[in-house]
Every structure is written in structure tokens, then in C-alpha cells.
Amino acid sequence: MSLLEVQDLHTSFFTSAGEVKAVNGLSFRLEKGKVLGIVGESGSGKSVTAYSVLQILTHPGRIVSGSIRFRDEELVGKSDAEMREIRGNKISIIFQDPMTSLNPTFTIGNQLEEAILLHTNRNKKQAEERAVEMLKLVGISEPEKRIRQYAYELSGGMRQRVMIAMALACEPDILIADEPTTALDVTIQAQILELILDLQKKMGMAVIMITHDMGVIAQICDEVIVMYAGSVCERGTADAIFYHPCHEYTKGLMRSIPDMNDDEKKKLIPIAGTPIDLLHMPPGCPFAPRCDRAMKICLQEKAKEYWVGHNHLSACWQNIRDGICSTERPEEEEEEA
């Protein structure tokens, strides 16, 4: 039994212009204590996936079909009251923008204690003790003073630490981090990523890291899912994705990132065209219109995910043409020296 199992999830936004299929048949499993990365560009459906799991989608978005099982318990179809038992308690989320996700009219302590009072049977005083303890855990100095301060009195990095403290106050099983460092500077980003990894090991929770930054993925993830236009392109261990990308989109993505360690100036190879219009999805592979190796079948039919390695799946017709994939999971390869 996996900790979290998402099966064939479809989430759409029903706008006046038509149905926007933000997540289009996504399946994944998350095991206990693992860090799963979901990487993709804007509009790839990575954040909507997170919101679907927690069911915090706003109108006109809703889950159309699919199943989300947490510890073998179906989440899709649960009432708001039932979901509230899970949100912030069993599954927590940190948002991208620490500036807007804290309430400016309440003190830090107030907001931290809210989650603790709601989900545990601690009294007000114990909740405050817990809040101070959490702030200490995330590396905030003088926590007794901080809990009486407001969000505007803290820097961006500090606010993100407070958000993490809030998310972890009830010791969740899963932490969803939705672009937690995108709004932060690199040196602060390094602090926050280190903190998340450190707490993940200490508390043994699983993390879903949603980001557009391949560097962040390489730094902290065990497994990676590459998404494009609401579908999975490729998934596997971080090493498999980075060293043996198989899907044309992943390959294109890798080629378009500048290499820090290159002495010579190599030209970047961008992916041609513009991201797909989610209102007008083609029948075939969503990446086909931008793919320079697209074949006839790519435009007509979406490829299924096939095994391209022991821990590596890819949904690309090119893999079948090149004969590098199979329907059977291959044996574990020997480690390269």
C-alpha cells in the first residue's frame, strides 16, 4: 500500500470559453519518506495536481474523474468537513508566495496556533508552546518574540520558514511544497531546501516538490515526474531522468538549460513554438506540435507510458520507433562504475 495513490486523475476548469483540461489522466504513487518532484512549465498542471489532492480548487475548477487514495482511503467525493480533518493535519501544503499566503491582520503566533488548536486537543497555552517549538525547529531566532509579530515584520525567507512551521505543526504524513523557493533569492533558497530536507528526514514524512527548476529537482528529489499540458511525459528516478531522458520534451528541456560547468559557450537549443493552448488540445501527444521529431501517429494518438528502464517510464512514440522501450519492466541494470 502506498501512502498516496493517484489514479487517472482528470481536473478541469469550466470557463465560459470552454473546458480547460488542466490535469488530464495523471497517475502516481508516493511512498512513505520519499521526495517526489513534479516538474513542468506554467500550465503543465503541476499546481492543479496539488490542489486536487487537497481539494482546494476554486470555482470553476473541479475533479472530473479519477481516484486519490490516502492510506487506502478515497479522498475524491469527501465532504468539506471530512477534508478539513486531513488538510493541515495529514497532508499539508506550502505555497509559492510567502508574502500573500500569511494573513497580515493576525500575528504569526495566532496563525500557527490555529492549525494546532484545530487538529489536536491541546489547550491555548500548550498550543503556544508548540508554536514556539515549531518556530525553533525551522530555525527562527527569538521565537517567543516572533509569535507576537505580524507578517510584514519578517523577511521573505523568514515568512517561508513560518509557512513551513505552520504546515508541519501537526506532523503531517505528506508535505506538498508548491514552488516553495521560486520567490526567494538563491542563498535563501539553499537555506529553505536544506531545511525541508532536514525536517523530512527528522519527521519521516513524504514530500511532493512542485517546481519548474531542474536544479531544485536534482538537488532534493528521489523520483521525478515530468509534466506537459496536464499529462505525464516521463517519470523515473532523478538519475534516470537527468542522465537518460527518453521523452522528446524532457530532452528538449535539458537542452534549453544553460550549463554552469561548461567552459566553452555552447548555443542553447530552445524548444520551438509556444506552450499549448489548453482550450484546444490536439488529439495526439500534447507536445507533438512543438516536437521536431513528431511523426504522423504523434498527432493522432497519445502514446502510453512504456518502461524504458528499471525505474523509468516514458510516454513517447519515438521510444517505440527507436525500440528502447517495452511493456515489461526490465531487470535492474548494474551500476555504472
Binding site: 538563491v186 536544479g215 530552445p270
Partner: protein
């Protein structure tokens, strides 16, 4: 001519297109009742840019990198310091007018930097309208089409409005506008940070092509070090309004010497799991201090592991530690 206007020893070097000397930009901030404090956004910065070169400017938010770009173009009036362009000091109204034609800017946000009420043609033509760089309407239209072709935009879209374009295309419009007055020098202020990775590469490649084709000189401001490393010949690192280190792109990323640059480079996430696992990260303690309360002496001192007493007393000046490699640190 230049030497006549300044009594001081500074003589412009013809090798450099742009020379900035002791540039300061202070903003008065109201900090209390009848009380203002000077926010030193840029404090005593000097550097040169060669013709045809790209100088990258990196630093964290609030370090003054954007202010430098804007002050050079005199969108802000410099508090102190000199700007020399092609051997001429920019100090009079006439010199500024000519300088503004030859120096242009590409802005970070392709959403707010284009007027939503103007058509693409009018946006692109604005600089040539201002500088009256065409003879008749036909001439103007031909130039608009030429510019749109140059940045890979469909000329049929000239009558559309900015909101009808995607982020990457809008940035192309912004670049076309910057090229309209045939400038030699362009300040690119975070031109790709609002774009997706795949689109980012398209715009970076285009900037490189245009540079080669038109002989442009760039001041490339960005916080993404891997992007800056890719496009720049030399890189300057800023911290709290001060320049900390300046060296060639390879030298600075491979062998940084200033403690701040060292930790900055180690914090850059490398998109390679094996390298990333081996990477020795120096995680800096604490946050960047408020630019209103810049520490005495070296601005980096409170977060620096190698800080000594000397660092608290005086602010280190930039000096050459290796040929072409400058750093401002007492401990080198």
C-alpha cells in the same frame, strides 16, 4: 574634449564603450515623523564595458542591480558619479538626448512594460517617433516591419495589442522597441526571468544573435546565475549596493574569491543529480540586512565567516587579485 571638461585625472579609454565612475544613487526614505534616511541603493560603483561585450550583473533582491541599470540610463538622476559613453561625459541635456537614442532598455516584466492601449506597431515605433528617425509614413512602416522581422514576429500582427500575445512574444516586442532607435548599448533588466525555461532559451538565443549581427553591447542584469554565465563575457557581483567581485564569466563561476561570491555560487542549484549531491554548499546564516541599515565597514561582514576586525572598520575597495579579476575583500 573630455579631458577639458574634467579637471580630475580621469581620461576616457577608447577601448570601452561605457565607463561608470563612482556612481552613487541614494533615495530619501521617510522613516518617521520629520525624519528621512538615505537608502543607499548604489554606493560608489565603478566599472567599464567594452564595445561588443556583455557584462552580467548578478546579486540578490535589493542589491541595487536594477538601480544601476536605471541610473546609467538616467531614468534616475545619479546622486553622484560620472557616466562616460563613447568618450563623452553624459552631463548636459544634449548629451543625454543623444545618449538615450544610443542606449536602450529591455524590461523584466513583459506584461506591465507594454502599453495596453497601443498597437504593436506604435509600441515598436515609439523610439523612432521620439527621435524623429523617419522621413515619411511609408518609411516608418517599413522600419516597423524590419524590426518585427528581426525579432521573429509576424508582421501581420502589427495592428494587434499587447494582450493578444504570449509572454515570450511580448518580450520580443520589448526587444524590437529597444532596437528601434539603432542603439549600440542595451540594458537588459531581467529579460528572461518571467519566462518559461523553453521560451527563455529562445529569447537568450535571439539576444545573442542580435548582438552578433548588430554589434550590440549589453549590460545583462539577472538573478539567475546560470543564465548570466551563459550570456556574459564578464560578470559583476553586487551586494547591498556595493560591487563585490568582477571577473570573466568562467573565472567568476569556477574560481570565485570573495566569500560572498563563493557562497552564492555554491547555492546555485545544478541540474545534475550527481554533481548536486557532491556539491559542497555553504549555507549563509541569516538574511540580507535592510538596505536602510547597511553595516559599517564591509557590508557582507555580519554574514561572513572570515570577518575580522579590519572588516568592521573600513569598506574594502575593489582591487585586482589576478589579471582581470577584481574583488573587494580585506582577506585576500
Amino acid at each position: 574634449m573630455a579631458t577639458e571638461s574634467t579637471a580630475k585625472a580621469f581620461t576616457p579609454d577608447p577601448e570601452f564603450l561605457l565607463q561608470v565612475r563612482n556612481l552613487k544613487e541614494y533615495f530619501p526614505i521617510t522613516t518617521g515623523f520629520m525624519k528621512t534616511t538615505m537608502l543607499k541603493a548604489v554606493d560608489d560603483v565603478s566599472f567599464d564595458i567594452r564595445k561588443g561585450e556583455t557584462l552580467g550583473l548578478v546579486g540578490e533582491s535589493g542589491c541595487g542591480k536594477t538601480t544601476i541599470g536605471r541610473t546609467i540610463l538616467q531614468l534616475y538622476k545619479p546622486t553622484a558619479g560620472e557616466i562616460w559613453f563613447k568618450g563623452k561625459k553624459i552631463d548636459s541635456k544634449e548629451s543625454l538626448r543623444e545618449f538615450r537614442r544610443q542606449a536602450q532598455m529591455v524590461f523584466q516584466d513583459p506584461y506591465s512594460s507594454l502599453n495596453p492601449r497601443m498597437t504593436v506597431a506604435d509600441i515598436v515605433a515609439e523610439p523612432i517617433d521620439v527621435h524623429k528617425m523617419y522621413t515619411n509614413k511609408k518609411d516608418r512602416e517599413a522600419r516597423i516591419h524590419e524590426l518585427m522581422n528581426l525579432v521573429g514576429l509576424n508582421t501581420e500582427h502589427a495592428t494587434r495589442y499587447a494582450h493578444e500575445f504570449s509572454g515570450g512574444q511580448r518580450q520580443r516586442i520589448g526587444i524590437a522597441r529597444a532596437l528601434a532607435s539603432q542603439p549600440e548599448f542595451i540594458v537588459c533588466d531581467e529579460p528572461v526571468s518571467a519566462l518559461d525555461v523553453s521560451i527563455q532559451a529562445q529569447v537568450i538565443n535571439m539576444l545573442e544573435d542580435l548582438q552578433a549581427r548588430l554589434g550590440l553591447t549589453y549590460l545583462f542584469i539577472a538573478h539567475d546565475i546560470s543564465v548570466v554565465k551563459h550570456i556574459s563575457n564578464r560578470i559583476a557581483v553586487m551586494y547591498l549596493g556595493h560591487m563585490m567581485e568582477l571577473a570573466s564569466a568562467n573565472e567568476l563561476t569556477k574560481h570565485p574569491v570573495h566569500p560572498y561570491t563563493v557562497s552564492l555560487m555554491s547555492a546555485v542549484p545544478i541540474p545534475d543529480p550527481k554533481v548536486s549531491r557532491r556539491q559542497q554548499r555553504i549555507v549563509l546564516k541569516g538574511d540580507v540586512p535592510s538596505p536602510l541599515k547597511v553595516p559599517e565597514g564591509c557590508p557582507f561582514r555580519p554574514r561572513c565567516e572570515r570577518a575580522t576586525e579590519a572588516c568592521a572598520k573600513t569598506c574594502p575597495a575593489m582591487r585586482e587579485v589576478a589579471p582581470g579579476h577584481f574583488a573587494a575583500c580585506h582577506n585576500l
